[in-house]
């Protein structure tokens, strides 16, 4: 009979253990392994708690508010005296901020990634990477302040030709969210680009390609999965952004396609409703959870897609 080693966690034939000290050591090992497993399972508990906090009130909400009104009406006024629950204004608001943010962050982030991975000297890289890290570390409320008191008045209000931009605009919020997201796009894309085998790069150069041709013809297609993952992450982050949307796009759930106007997003509605103390059990209170569930579901799906995409294409090179 073999004495299986304690460190694989396989069962040990206890009566063959020579000393009490070894037996104690074995118990300690099992105990440690168990407590670490319990610790790790806490994260699963968190996800279950999120689901448990969102789903029951959302179900109650849809018992009180017909789906036809939720998905059929374009007036969102759930906290008013005579409430209306058409969700499209805040979904559209979220989409407008997100699209603007992606239009800003993806080109700029990819440019940063290309530059870092293909063009920059080690000295420039040492200068550029900390700047991206600084950008990534700035709190959202600081971006919100910048958007509200610089981007909106100086840029949007002055230069946006459609309508009459006021204090708030989805465009300003989108621009600022976009800048905030640049480091995410840049770092995920740059990881993908660095992972491209240098054989592909060198082969292209050997065949006489210019650096641009290598970037667009070799690196970009090869790193495409990582770049897509970066874009999906950017979309997900932009959709979930609360503070900037609240400060820069405002709290008026307007249903409009003009980004120069203020709008409310799903996340900023949740923040807004959370500030005003909604009585527990009221329909207004439950609206927070219904919108929260919608938001969580959308970002969950996006994150799963991003994880899958990276995993599927990573196999190509390994």
């Amino acid at each position: 009979m073999a004495i299986a080693a304690g460190h694989t966690g396989a069962p040990v034939v206890e009566h063959l253990l020579p000393t009490g000290a070894l037996r104690r050591r074995y118990l300690v090992e099992r105990l440690v392994r168990l407590s670490l497993l319990i610790t790790a399972s806490l994260t699963v508990l968190i996800t279950l708690l999120i689901a448990a906090s969102l789903i029951p009130p959302a179900i109650e909400f849809f018992g009180e508010v017909p789906l036809r009104e939720f998905f059929g009406s374009t007036t969102w006024a759930p906290l008013f005296g005579t409430p209306q629950f058409g969700v499209w204004p805040i979904v559209l608001g979220t989409a407008m901020v997100m699209v603007t943010a992606v239009l800003v962050s993806v080109p700029l982030g990819l440019a940063a990634a290309f530059y870092l991975s293909e063009y920059a000297s080690p000295r420039t890289r040492k200068f550029l990477k900390p700047i991206l890290e600084v950008l990534a570390g700035i709190p959202t409320v600081v971006f919100g302040f910048f958007g509200l008191y610089f981007i909106n008045p100086e840029l949007v209000k002055r230069f946006w030709p459609f309508g009459e931009p006021g204090t708030y605009s989805a465009l300003g919020a989108g621009l600022v969210v976009g800048v905030m997201i640049i480091p995410i796009v840049a770092s995920v894309s740059e990881d993908a680009m660095s992972a491209v085998p240098s054989a592909l790069r060198d082969g292209a150069f050997a065949l006489g390609a210019t650096r641009r041709e290598v970037c667009t013809g070799v690196i970009f297609p090869a790193a495409l999965s990582g770049i897509i993952a970066a874009i999906v992450l950017a979309v997900s982050r932009a959709i979930g952004e609360t503070t900037i949307a609240l400060m820069v796009a405002g709290s008026n759930p307007r249903f409009t396609f003009n980004p120069g106007e203020g709008m409310q997003t799903m996340a900023s509605f949740i923040g807004f409703a959370g500030i005003g103390d909604q009585p527990t059990g009221s329909t207004g209170y439950k609206t927070i959870f219904a919108v929260g569930l919608l938001l969580f579901a959308i970002t969950f799906v996006l994150n799963m897609i991003s994880i899958r995409v990276v995993r599927r294409f990573r196999e190509v090179y390994e």
């Binding site: 699963v44 708690l49 550029l128 700035i138 210019t210 996340a267």
Partner: protein, 303 residues
């Protein structure tokens, strides 16, 4: 230089090779580089503009009174002391709780878990998902179960700690895992070969070697918690708080939310206070992140 190096560096090519790269291709190469440089300029310029405008707005209100005073209805007397202590309490305890839990999870996943087993894969995917959940959803969870509901702690420091811990935990786990992974496997293998058990190896060899990485990751997670605003909106941190917390059951406010409050105030004089508070917040974060970078650089050279 070889042909490959010449083409790759984008320099002028030796004349006998000039015809291999047509003028139009070279022009496209140059313009692409210009586009990249322009894009980077825009990004960098926005960051600089942000910093400069904030400094211009807040510089006049930046004095010791700002930190000594509590929030007030009068802009000239308004300060941020309650927010600084509130942040200290909330973030301090969050770090105290989340670091051991996160580190323990990371140790389990890296050293003890076999990735073929289904529950370990569930744990891993779950952590990746949690890292992508919008922060406001954690606020909803806190509102439902901690502020109201089963725990019923209300708008207190304790509620904030629970919620922020859940939010920061995935980040601590991911950072600690990378730190543990960076420890050379020769250390692990050698220890095991000498007869140490797994836990002995982890506790006496791997953890000490991974401490710089863990410290860096922890500092970055803490600074993330310091800057959080969205979930705390739902946890009552936007209140007008004129005292420092003295227990976990006290009301509180945190710096990002006090900034939000001042910035949203109808009176324009408060906006300068908000800008000054932003400068203080950024200074704190800059100090923390620099500490993290210093730790990372100092110990990377040894490794």
């Amino acid at each position: 230089m070889t042909t490959v190096e010449a083409v790759a560096s984008g320099d002028e090519l030796p004349t006998e090779l000039a015809s291999t790269v047509s003028a139009s291709r070279r022009a496209k190469d140059r313009s692409f580089q210009a586009v990249l440089a322009f894009a980077l300029l825009v990004a960098f310029g926005t960051l600089v503009t942000l910093i400069v405008t904030t400094l211009l707005d807040g510089w006049d209100r930046l004095n010791w009174d700002l930190i000594r005073n509590f929030p007030s209805a009068r802009p000239a007397k308004a300060g941020i002391q309650s927010a600084i202590f509130g942040s200290l309490w909330v973030v301090g305890f969050t770090a105290l709780v989340s670091l051991p839990l996160g580190l323990g999870t990371a140790i389990y996943l890296e050293e003890f878990a076999h990735s073929e087993q289904w529950y370990n894969r569930v744990i891993e995917i779950n952590i990746q998902n949690l890292a992508g959940v919008p922060s406001v959803v954690f606020g909803i969870l806190g509102l439902a179960f901690v502020v109201r509901g089963p725990l019923g702690w209300g708008f207190t420091v304790g509620s904030a700690i629970v919620v922020l811990t859940m939010l920061v935990l995935p980040l601590v786990i991911i950072a600690s895992r990378e730190a543990i992974r960076a420890v050379p496997s020769s250390l692990r293998d050698g220890s095991l070969a000498l007869g140490a058990t797994q836990w002995q190896t982890v506790w006496r060899q791997i953890l000490p070697a991974a401490i710089p990485g863990i410290a860096t990751g922890s500092i970055l997670s803490v600074s993330r918690a310091l800057g959080e605003s969205a979930p705390l909106l739902l946890l009552g941190a936007l209140a007008f708080v004129t005292y420092n917390p003295s227990s976990l059951a006290d009301g509180y406010t945190v710096l990002p939310l006090l900034i939000f409050k001042y910035a949203s105030d109808a009176k324009a004089e408060f906006h300068a206070v908000a800008a000054a508070a932003i400068i203080v917040l950024l200074a704190i974060l800059l100090t923390l992140n620099s500490a993290a970078i210093v730790i990372r650089n100092r110990f990377q050279r040894k490794g």
